[in-house]
């Protein structure tokens, strides 16, 4: 396909920019990257169109060339295009360099094995060094701008691969000292220096050599891929956020390699060189330089922060946001080492005045105000990470920073926060100077805000602001009754004036701490229930009451509801009314509510409302208090389908129905109980979370045993040992079996859960019961009697029972002790076992050899013979 025309490209680029994802999903997506690269060399397109193509590749390389190999191909093609440009000035050289750099960095293709990287890097360094690249590659007029651009490209590559330029430090220093453009070289050198300092503490490379070595840019070898690898290709924060830096980098400064005096001197000289010419940089670039160098030198031995001092006075005088911010970063990095107490005071004062200077824009004021409350103090007191007024910032300094009703919302809230912090301190210190009390001022300000929010027809933003302010005050001054009392009073008045703000009140109640919430609820409830009757604001009152109604003042609330029920003629009012009923149900209000619900179930006009009331009535009549609370608790179900009842049902379903749940309990078998007329299993339950009313149900496969009773446990807690549960078995045949186990329990959140547990296995030996012990001395006769009774119906057999190291005596005492009727230890044991329901098993173990004992056995139930054989053969293995 031939090159696309300008218009086609304009249209295509427009479509792409409108929504890159939509475009990439379309049919043209695949060709875009390829067409772009090929059309860059087309002679039919103007330079301007080509620049716009390159601009696209600068912004969306990941979409155009999504993987490393595509990025490599693209970068190669871009470099080819660059080389092929005719030797006259062109607007394409800069963007081509930027685009090749971007493609490699974003595509992840940058590396020592990438052909494009190996072409781009020397080219960039050559350009940055102002070398003659031959063949009129760079027209004289473009030399300077391209030199700067090459520096920028290198800086970006160094940002993406920290350590890359570690080998070029000396070269860059040399260039900076000579004729090179100051800003690009300064920024590049400071970044490379910073990264080298961080990585070198791990790599152990000699800094001094790096700073002085002049590597020839064309000689190959300024690329420090080893240093890159030392850093594991990990990105280095260029200006780390300081709490993180302090936590994470403390380790670095400790392990940092110590520099020799020469190295330290060389480093100091390099930093001084950068700082001395920093006034030639634009303000934003100066700020970048200070962030980089400040954090690079922090904690390095032999690098006095005083190097920065000459810059500070100049910087403190400016109004430039980036510069003052950089000074704060230096303050955070060096603290007292760079800022004496007087310096700190001065900085704080400059910041305070900048936060209110009429010549600066509002967003700058707000940022400075934030900086004040997060000021990196030399001697901080409060908890870290929380906004607080610095110690030195007293009421005198703050007076110009306090809020007034005339401020914009954000400024008002930011300043209000400061005022609250002052009030909190004022309370602590009780120091009354000539200044008006901040507390009193706060009260007046809030009054003004409430008044404004109460204005009929006022915008919602004013109401929101007022509630945000109230919330802020409540949060900062929660413990102060002198603040909370007027706050509650003022809010109640606001509600009286404008009940349509009910959603804001509900939200406020949800957000604040109980110190304010509980008394505010009481006052607002009174405010609502004291005004029964027809009212335009009834829907708001009901919404409010649904939030504030609880077990207190039941009769007043019910009276109110009875009084307004007749006015609730529309669907939404009825729903509002029922919401209040629901809240009362949850709070466990019984008596009067039953009557009210019955009335509503009959009287409400809307069938949905009637159904609802009836449902509540039924729930109230049938469910115990706690269960009711859970059933009506907040539901996560998506609200409002066709009928609110359906929606609400989704909430109940969870609460009233049994949930299939992952197993929160484990059941294991304890030791065998051989007492009583029936075999009894001992079960050890274990819970992973507190669970209540546990019921365990068992089912025997194949009806081998009579149906088993369920077992009940009132409560199980993790970590607290539970009593073993006893499960009596009633075998219909003496056979092992598998028990299917189901558990039903209630969680602490009130949900009833059902879970199918792994099956339990009842072994043959679990069924063994002893015969009643014969009187002393009659053992043999008793055994012989049983032995003889087995035949002729029964069966007789001999089984070889292997013995372990414990010998016959050990085996018997471990497994058969309860059943031994007669014994002559350690040689002869007569064992009689009752197998429920009514079988017997008799064993004679005599004349043991070293590795086993022959067992003569008789039983009246031939069906157990194989089981006995397995059992005896397995005994030695069963420890």
């Amino acid at each position: 396909m031939g090159p696309l025309s300008r218009d086609v490209w304009a249209q295509r680029l427009g479509a792409f920019r409108a929504s890159p994802s939509a475009f990439m999903a379309g049919p043209e997506a695949e060709d875009l990257g390829r067409d772009l690269l090929s059309d860059l060399r087309s002679e039919k397109l103007s330079e301007q169109t080509k620049v716009s193509l390159l601009a696209l590749s600068l912004e969306y390389p990941a979409q155009l060339w999504p993987d490393a190999s595509a990025a490599e191909v693209a970068a190669t093609s871009l470099l080819d295009t660059l080389v092929l440009l005719p030797p006259r000035p062109s607007a394409l050289r800069r963007p081509l360099l930027l685009a090749a750099t971007t493609a490699l960095a974003v595509g992840g293709a940058l590396g020592p094995t990438s052909g494009a990287s190996c072409r781009l890097l020397p080219l960039l360094l050559g350009l940055a060094a102002g070398s003659d690249l031959g063949r009129g590659f760079v027209p004289a007029s473009e030399q300077r701008p391209l030199q700067a651009t090459a520096c920028e490209c290198l800086r970006e590559l160094e940002s993406c691969k920290p350590g890359l330029l570690g080998g070029s430090l000396g070269l860059l220093r040399g260039l900076l000292g000579q004729e090179g453009p100051v800003q690009p070289l300064s920024l590049l050198l400071s970044l490379a220096l910073r990264n080298t300092l961080v990585l070198q503490s791990r790599a152990g490379a000699g800094l001094g050599a790096l700073l002085t070595a002049r590597v020839s840019p064309t000689g190959g070898g300024p690329w420090d891929w080893t240093l890159v690898e030392e850093g594991d290709g990990r990105l280095q924060p260029q200006a780390p956020s300081w709490p993180a830096a302090e936590a994470g980098e403390g380790a670095r400064s400790l392990t940092a390699r110590e520099h020799s005096p020469e190295e330290a001197r060389e480093l100091r000289a390099a930093v001084a060189q950068l700082l001395d010419t920093s006034y030639l940089l634009t303000p934003v670039a100066q700020a970048q330089l200070l962030w980089l160098l400040g954090w690079a030198l922090r904690g390095l031995q032999g690098q006095p922060p005083a190097l920065f001092k000459p810059q500070l006075v100049r910087l403190l005088g400016t109004a430039q946001l980036a510069l003052l911010h950089a000074v704060l970063a230096l303050k955070a990095a060096f603290g007292e080492a760079l800022f004496t107490a007087q310096d700190e005071t001065l900085l704080l004062r400059r910041l305070t005045l900048a936060a209110q200077h009429p010549a600066l824009p509002p967003s700058t004021h707000l940022f400075y105000l934030h900086c004040l409350l997060s000021f990196p103090e030399n001697c901080p007191l409060g908890p870290e990470g929380e906004e607080a007024a610095p110690l030195l910032l007293g009421p005198q300094l703050c007076r110009g920073l306090l809020p007034s009703l005339l401020h914009e919302p954000m400024a008002l809230l930011a300043r209000l926060h400061l005022l609250c912090l002052l009030c909190a301190e004022d309370e602590e210190e009780e120091e009354k100077g000539q200044l008006p009390s901040p507390g009193h001022y706060l009260e007046e300000l809030l009054a003004g805000l409430w008044q404004r929010a109460a204005l009929e027809g006022g915008p919602r933003a004013l109401a929101t602001l007022c509630f945000q302010a109230s919330y802020l005050v409540a949060r900062c001054l929660a413990g102060q009754p002198t603040v909370l009392t007027p706050l509650i009073h003022g809010l109640a008045q606001l509600y009286r004036a404008r009940p349509m703000l009910a959603p804001h009140f509900v939200d406020l109640l949800d957000q604040v701490d109980p110190e304010l919430r509980e008394p505010l609820k009481v006052v607002l409830r009174q405010e609502v229930v004291s005004r029964p009757g027809r009212d335009e604001a009834l829907c708001w009152h009901l919404q409010m009451l649904a939030r504030v109604a609880d077990g207190d003042a039941q009769s007043a609330t019910l009276n109110f509801l009875r009084a307004v029920a007749a006015h609730c003629t529309s669907w939404d009012l009825q729903q509002g009314l029922l919401q209040v009923c629901r809240a009362l149900l949850r709070a466990g209000v019984g008596g009067g509510l039953v009557d009210l619900l019955q009335v509503l179930a009959r009287q409400l006009e809307d069938p949905d409302g009637r159904d609802h009331a009836r449902l509540y009535y039924i729930l109230l009549a049938h469910l115990a208090g706690p269960k009711l609370g859970v059933a009506l608790g907040p539901s996560l179900a998506t609200p409002a389908l066709a009928s609110s009842l359906v929606a609400e049902n989704q909430g109940f379903v969870a609460a009233l129905m049994v949930q299939e749940a992952p197993a929160l309990i484990r059941l294991s078998m304890g030791s065998h109980v051989v007492k009583g007329p029936l075999p009894v299993l001992q079960l050890l339950p274990e819970a992973l979370e507190p669970i209540y009313s546990l019921e365990l149900r068992f089912h025997v496969e194949g009806q081998l045993y009579a149906p088993l009773e369920a077992v009940h446990v009132p409560c199980l807690c993790p970590g607290r040992p539970a009593r073993p549960l006893l499960l009596p078995l009633q075998p219909r045949r003496p056979a092992p079996a598998q028990l299917d186990v189901h558990a039903l329990y209630t969680t602490s959140t009130g949900l009833t859960c059902h879970v199918h547990l792994p099956p339990l296995f009842v072994n043959f030996a679990d069924l063994f019961l002893p015969f009643p012990q014969p009187p002393e001395g009659t053992g043999l006769g008793f055994f012989e009697e049983l032995w003889d009774s087995c035949l002729p119906e029964g069966a007789e057999s001999r089984v070889w029972c292997p013995l372990g190291p414990q010998g016959l005596e050990g085996l018997v005492s471990r497994h058969l002790e309860p059943f031994v009727v007669m014994a002559q230890p350690p040689t002869s044991y007569y064992v009689a076992i009752h197998l429920p329901p009514d079988s017997k098993l008799l064993l004679r173990l005599e004349a043991a050899l070293a590795d086993g004992v022959p067992v003569a056995l008789r039983t009246d139930d031939w069906a157990v013979l194989p089981l006995v054989g397995d059992y005896l053969r397995g005994l030695a293995a069963a420890v």
């Binding site: 601009a55 390389p61 930027l98 750099t101 974003v106 004289a140 007029s141 920028e152 970006e156 004729e179 090179g180 453009p181 100051v182 800003q183 990105l235 924060p237 200006a239 956020s241 993180a244 006034y279 030639l280 634009t282 303000p283 934003v284 670039a285 700020a287 970048q288 962030w291 005088g317 400016t318 109004a319 946001l321 980036a322 704060l328 001065l346 005045l353 200077h357 009429p358 010549a359 509002p362 940022f367 934030h370 997060s374 990470g385 007076r399 110009g400 007034s404 005339l406 926060h417 200044l435 008044q451 404004r452 204005l455 027809g457 919602r460 109401a463 919330y471 804001h504 939200d507 957000q511």
Partner: protein
Amino acid sequence: MAQRAVWLISHEPGTPLRGTVRFSRRYPTVEKRARVFNGASYVPIPEDGPFLKALLFELRLLDDDKDFVESRDSCSRINKTSIYGLLVGGEELWPVVAFLKNDMIYACVPLVEQTLSPHPPLISVSGVSQGFELLFGIQDFLYSGQKNDNELNTKLSQLPDLLLQACPFGTVLDANLQNSLDNTNFVSVTRPQKQPAWKPGTYKGKPQVSISITEKVKSMQYDKQGVADTWQVVGTVTCKCDLEGIMPNVTISLSLPTNGSPLQDILVHPCVTSLDSAILTSSSIDAMDDSAFSGPYKFPFTPPLESFNLCYYTSQVPVPPILGFYQMKEEEVQLRITVNLKLHESVKNNFEFCEAHIPFFNRGPITHLEYKTSFGQLEVFREKSLLIWIIGQKFPKSMEISLSGTVTFGAKRHEKQPFDPICVGETAYLKLHFRILDYTLTGCYADQHSVQVFASGKPKISAYRKLISSDYYIWNSKAPAPVTYGSLLL
């Protein structure tokens, strides 16, 4: 320090989307770093459409605030800086630096070089101030000398190329976009070494230095017991230095007459090379005393090519230039008003213009007016419920003028009449607008002879001064008025 993306959005109330993205630029290399640094808390930069919607919602510019919306109106969603978290696709994009100015929203997302949960304190994120500087720079470029929409569109169309110069990879190189524009123009000049990055070329031509001092005076007057009137002067010194050479040095001294009011809160341009500590420490935060530094205020600097603000200052003059009172009383169906204004004798009685605007909020249109003035004319804007008292160029000899009258209003029609949340009931103000040329209230002036220029050729030096009113309010003394904490300091 880098930015992940920049947007320029025009706010268009009344249109379906309420706004249009006029310009956007993404920085994929920075985005790649963000993904690594932010880890699990990384949220990608959204496309323009979803970003526009989320930003307008967050800035409350969608004008559909009829209903309470928790994600916007909840009392706990408190924003105290122009830095927002935007909900995009269920995730929070943070930090978004954004502000609205002249119906244009400026926004960018700085890179945060760590995890975003929990949010690190903004003060520790270097990209925030860099982002602000970039946005301010774009704003200055778009609106400096811009007169109409065509010019704005031309400048908007230059933005992609300029940002390619000023911020090629997301790290801002120069927030002054005019420099970038000049850079492309000066491209053929081979610059010698040590050329400041903020000075794209050198000036060729007749040397001249122009200094203009503009003072704005604002005031809040209450005429009330227990509430102090406040006023403040804010000065801006603007310079344009057309001087040859790479780094010409200039020193400008600002002087005060013997009874002049000391300059305080001085903020200087970054090109100022050194600053006297007395200038640095003189501040309005401290109580004034006679020992306050009163100049001359020396500012040595190396000027940039363009016109720039050498410094800003504030000052506390002993009296407001015009002292007045305003009394308004509701009498059955009408309002009775009385205004009295007095020009202080020390003030130059030669105005370019002087007017008192008397607005009436939250009422219907003016239907009837009876008045008497001792001086000047009264204009009535009935539909806007506004009176403008045109005082003219001079106060009379007595220096004191008055206006009294009664105003009647028609029925309130909601949409048209001005709403104000503060001026409710009898709370009301009048606002003074005036301008005096060749005069400063502090007395501050730039002495032409004290301007030192170290450059070839003797420059022509010109100096200008003017005083303008700004936020000059006189509140109805018969009703409550919003006060600042400062007014309670008596």
